[in-house]
C-alpha cells in the first residue's frame, strides 16, 4: 500500500503558512508567525492520514491552508491534479466540490439563521443544476447517510445536540461528492460517548464512498483507530510521518516518543510505556529556534540539533523522520535504528 505509488490524490510540497506580525506606531511588518513552516506529505486516494500534535502546533492551519481557506505563503498543494494554492479565485470556487472540510466546532461553523435543509442544499444551489425536488431528495439522502432523521430538515442548528450538529456538518461536506475531506478535530467538541459514533460514521462513509481523509486531532487513541498513516507535527513542522502501527509501536522521533507516551493503555495487564515528561514550553512560532524546532525540549539533543534544521527523510521503508539522530548514517541501509539509537544514547547527556 505504501510502496506502490500511484499518483496520490493529495500531494503537499513545502507548504508554508506565515501570519504577518505588524507592530509599532506605523504597524510595520516586523515578523511572521510561522504557523506552518515547510510541510510536505502526500495522501493516496482512499487513505486516511492522521495529523497529530499539541495545541498550537499548526495542525488546523495545515488543514485550512490545504483547502485554501488561507492564502498560503508558499509551497504547492496538488489535489486531484491541480495546484490548489495557485488557482485563480473562480477556478478555486469550481474546485471546491472536490475538497471539503468538517470543522471542529459544529455550533459555530453552521450559520445560525439557516435551516438544516438550507445548509446542506446551499452548495447544491451553487454547483449543480438540480431542480428543487432533486435537491430536496439529495438533502434527505444525505441526512439518511449521516443518520439524521428527515423530519429535522427544517430545524435550525441550535435545536440540535453537539453530535447531531456534527452530523449536519458532515452531511454538508458530503453534499457535492467530494474526493478529499479534511476533518479538523471533528470530535474535539463532542462528548466522549458521541465521539465514537461520529468517528465510526466517518469510517463507514469512507468505505462506502471511497473518501480520502486528512484527520486532524489531538486525540491520539482516536487517530490510532481511524488513520492508516500518522504525521506528528511540532511547531509548524512534521517531526515524523509513519504508518500507524509502526509509529504507535515504536516511535522514532523523540517528540513522537514523548507524545505517544501520553497514550493510556486500556489493558491494565499490559505494561504501560514509561511516561516521558517534556520540560519547558513550546517556543513561539514567531521566533522558532535556529536549529531543530524541538531542540529546546528534546531529551536527546546534541550540538548539531541547535545549528541545523533536520529535513524529513525516509529512514526506514515508509517511515519519515526529521531528526539528526537518524540522518547521520547513510540512508537506505536496513535496520540502522538499533545502531543509531545506541549511538545516540551515548551522545545525549
Amino acid at each position: 500500500m505504501l510502496d506502490a505509488l500511484p499518483a496520490p490524490l493529495v500531494q503537499v510540497e513545502d507548504l508554508k503558512m506565515y501570519f504577518p506580525i505588524h507592530t509599532g506606531l506605523l504597524r510595520r511588518h516586523t515578523g511572521d508567525v510561522k504557523a506552518v513552516d515547510g510541510v510536505s506529505f502526500s495522501i493516496p486516494a482512499g487513505e486516511t492520514l492522521g495529523l497529530v500534535g499539541e495545541s498550537g502546533c499548526g495542525k488546523s492551519t495545515v488543514g485550512r491552508a490545504l483547502l485554501r481557506l488561507y492564502e498560503v505563503t508558499g509551497g504547492r498543494v496538488v489535489i486531484d491534479g491541480e495546484d490548489v494554492a495557485a488557482l485563480a479565485p473562480e477556478a478555486l470556487r469550481k474546485k471546491r466540490p472536490t475538497m471539503q472540510m468538517v470543522f471542529q466546532d459544529p455550533q459555530a461553523s453552521l450559520n445560525p439563521r439557516m435551516s438544516v435543509a438550507a445548509i446542506i442544499a446551499e452548495p447544491l444551489d451553487e454547483h449543480t443544476p438540480l431542480s428543487r425536488a432533486q435537491k430536496l431528495e439529495r438533502v434527505y439522502e444525505l441526512m439518511d447517510a449521516v443518520g439524521l432523521n428527515r423530519r429535522f430538515a427544517n430545524r435550525f442548528p441550535h435545536e440540535f445536540s453537539g453530535g447531531q450538529r456534527q452530523r449536519i456538518g458532515i452531511a454538508r461536506a458530503l453534499a457535492l461528492n467530494p474526493k478529499f475531506i479534511v476533518c479538523d478535530e471533528p470530535i474535539a467538541a463532542l462528548d466522549v460517548s458521541i465521539q465514537a459514533q461520529v468517528v465510526n460514521l466517518l469510517e463507514d462513509l469512507q468505505t462506502r464512498l471511497g473518501l480520502t481523509y486528512l484527520f486532524i486531532s489531538h486525540d491520539l487513541s482516536m487517530v490510532r483507530h481511524i488513520a492508516d498513516r500518522v504525521a506528528v507535527m511540532y511547531l509548524g513542522r512534521i517531526a515524523e510521518l509513519s504508518p500507524r502501527d509502526a509509529l504507535y509501536d515504536r516511535p522514532l522521533h523523540p517528540y513522537a516518543e514523548a507524545l505517544l507516551s501520553a497514550v493510556n493503555e486500556p489493558d491494565p495487564n499490559r505494561a504501560r510505556r514509561a511516561r516521558i515528561i517534556l520540560k519547558g514550553d513550546v517556543p513561539s512560532p514567531a521566533n522558532p529556534p535556529q536549529g531543530c524546532n524541538f531542540c529546546t525540549r528534546c531529551p536527546k539533543v546534541f550540538d548539531l540539533c541547535r545549528a541545523v534544521k533536520p529535513d524529513l527523510t525516509e529512514v526506514e521503508p515508509g517511515r519519515h523522520v526529521a531528526c539528526h539522530l537518524f540522518s547521520k548514517p547513510p540512508a537506505g541501509t536496513t535496520g540502522p535504528r538499533e545502531a543509531t539509537e545506541h549511538n545516540q544514547q551515548g551522545v545525549t547527556q
Binding site: 485550512r64 483547502l67 481557506l69 470556487r93 469550481k94 474546485k95 471546491r96 466540490p97 471539503q100 472540510m101 470543522f103 466546532d105 459555530a108 461553523s109 453552521l110 450559520n111 445560525p112 439563521r113 446551499e122 452548495p123 451553487e126 454547483h127 435550525f156 441550535h158 456538518g169 454538508r172 457535492l176
Partner: protein, 335 residues
C-alpha cells in the same frame, strides 16, 4: 409571539402611567409658570381670573388626573369623531395650549407633516448610505475606504448638527446660493416645479441629519459585520465554494443585521420627535420647533403632551425592536 407582544403591551401601561406622572411633576416643578406670560399691565384680579380659567390654580393631582382623562379619553374620542363623523366628544374639554388657546393636538397635526417629510427622509437616506458603507468598510477592514469612512463617521457623529447646519448654510446658501436657508412650510407640492422647490429646500436639513444618522448606523453595521466575518460559519460558506457576494450578503449581512435593526428601530421615535436643533437652524416648522416654542412660553399642556407622546413612541419601538429580533434570529423564541 402574539402572546408575548400582548404581554409586553399590557406591561407598557403601568410603565407609561409612571412616565406620564414623572413628566407631569417635572414640568410642573420646573421654574416658570403660565402666570409669568401674562403682561404686568393686566390688573391682578383679571390675572387671577385668567389663571382660574386655565385651571392652573387647581392642585397638582387634580390637574394630572384631568390631563390623563383628556389624553386617554377625550382626545381619542375627538379623533374617532373626526374620522367617522360621530359626536361622542361634544362638550368635552380638550387639552388646550396655554400659548395658542387652541387644542394641542391641532397644533401637532399641523406640525407633524413637516417633521415626517424632513426628518423621515433624512433618516431613510441616512440608512441607505450607512448600510453599504458599513458593509464595505468591514469587508475591507483598514483599507483606505474604511479609514475614510471611519473619519467621516467620526466627524458626522461628533460635530453637532447646529454647527454642520450653519456651516452648510454659510457654504451653500450664503456663498454659493444653491439652496435656500429657510424651509418654507407654506409651500404646496402641486407640480414638478414646486416639487423641485421642495427638494431644494429640504436638501440642507436632510443632509445635516442624514450625515448624523449615517455616521451612527454605519458604525454599528461595520462592527457587527466585522464580528460576523470572523465567525466559523463564514469559513464554512467559503469552503462550500459560495461566491464572495453570497458569503457577504447572504451569510454575514443577514446575521449582522440584528443589532443594526435594533438601532434603526430605536431611532424611529426621533423621526416623530423631530430634530429640535436642526428644525430650529433651518426654521422647519415641525414638532421639535413646537416643543421648543412651548418650553419658552411655559406652555405646560403642550410640553407635557409632546413629551409623553415621545415616551410612548420609545416604549413602542422598543417592543418593535424586540419583536423584530424574534423574526431575524431563529434562536430567539418568545413563548
Amino acid at each position: 409571539m402574539l402572546t408575548y407582544t400582548l404581554r409586553r403591551l399590557l406591561l407598557a401601561i403601568p410603565t407609561l402611567l409612571l412616565i406620564s406622572l414623572a413628566i407631569f411633576l417635572l414640568v410642573d416643578l420646573a421654574p416658570g409658570s403660565p402666570a409669568s406670560e401674562i403682561p404686568l399691565t393686566v390688573p391682578p384680579e383679571v390675572k387671577a381670573k385668567i389663571l382660574e380659567a386655565m385651571g392652573v390654580n387647581q392642585p397638582v393631582w387634580v390637574r394630572y388626573v384631568l390631563w390623563l382623562k383628556q389624553f386617554f379619553v377625550v382626545e381619542p374620542l375627538v379623533g374617532w369623531d373626526s374620522l367617522f363623523g360621530t359626536h361622542y366628544s361634544e362638550g368635552m374639554q380638550r387639552i388646550i395650549s396655554y400659548q395658542s388657546r387652541a387644542p394641542v393636538f391641532t397644533t401637532i397635526g399641523q406640525r407633524i407633516p413637516q417633521t415626517l417629510t424632513v426628518i423621515g427622509s433624512a433618516y431613510a437616506i441616512g440608512i441607505l448610505i450607512a448600510l453599504p458603507i458599513g458593509i464595505y468598510s468591514a469587508y475591507r477592514q483598514y483599507s483606505w475606504f474604511d479609514q475614510l469612512g471611519t473619519f467621516i463617521a467620526m466627524v458626522g457623529y461628533s460635530v453637532p448638527t447646529f454647527f454642520t447646519g450653519v456651516l452648510l448654510i454659510v457654504i451653500f446658501s450664503v456663498n454659493l446660493g444653491w439652496f435656500p436657508s429657510i424651509y418654507d412650510t407654506t409651500l404646496k407640492v402641486v407640480d414638478w416645479a414646486s416639487f423641485w422647490k421642495q427638494v431644494h429646500q429640504m436638501a440642507l436639513p436632510v443632509t445635516v441629519l442624514a450625515l448624523f444618522n449615517a455616521a451612527e448606523i454605519s458604525r454599528y453595521t461595520r462592527s457587527s459585520m466585522l464580528e460576523n466575518l470572523s465567525q466559523d460559519y463564514v469559513r464554512t460558506a467559503r469552503a462550500k465554494g459560495m461566491t464572495e457576494r453570497t458569503v457577504v450578503l447572504k451569510h454575514v449581512l443577514r446575521n449582522s443585521l440584528i443589532p443594526v435593526v435594533t438601532i434603526i428601530a430605536l431611532g424611529m421615535p426621533t423621526i416623530f420627535g423631530g430634530a429640535i436643533i436642526t428644525e430650529q437652524v433651518f426654521k422647519v416648522n415641525g414638532i421639535g420647533a413646537a416643543l421648543i416654542g412651548a418650553i419658552h412660553g411655559n406652555d405646560l399642556p403642550m410640553v407635557q403632551t409632546l413629551t409623553f407622546i415621545f415616551a410612548t413612541l420609545i416604549v413602542l419601538f422598543n417592543l418593535v425592536a424586540d419583536v423584530l429580533y424574534g423574526f431575524l434570529d431563529p434562536r430567539i423564541r418568545y413563548d
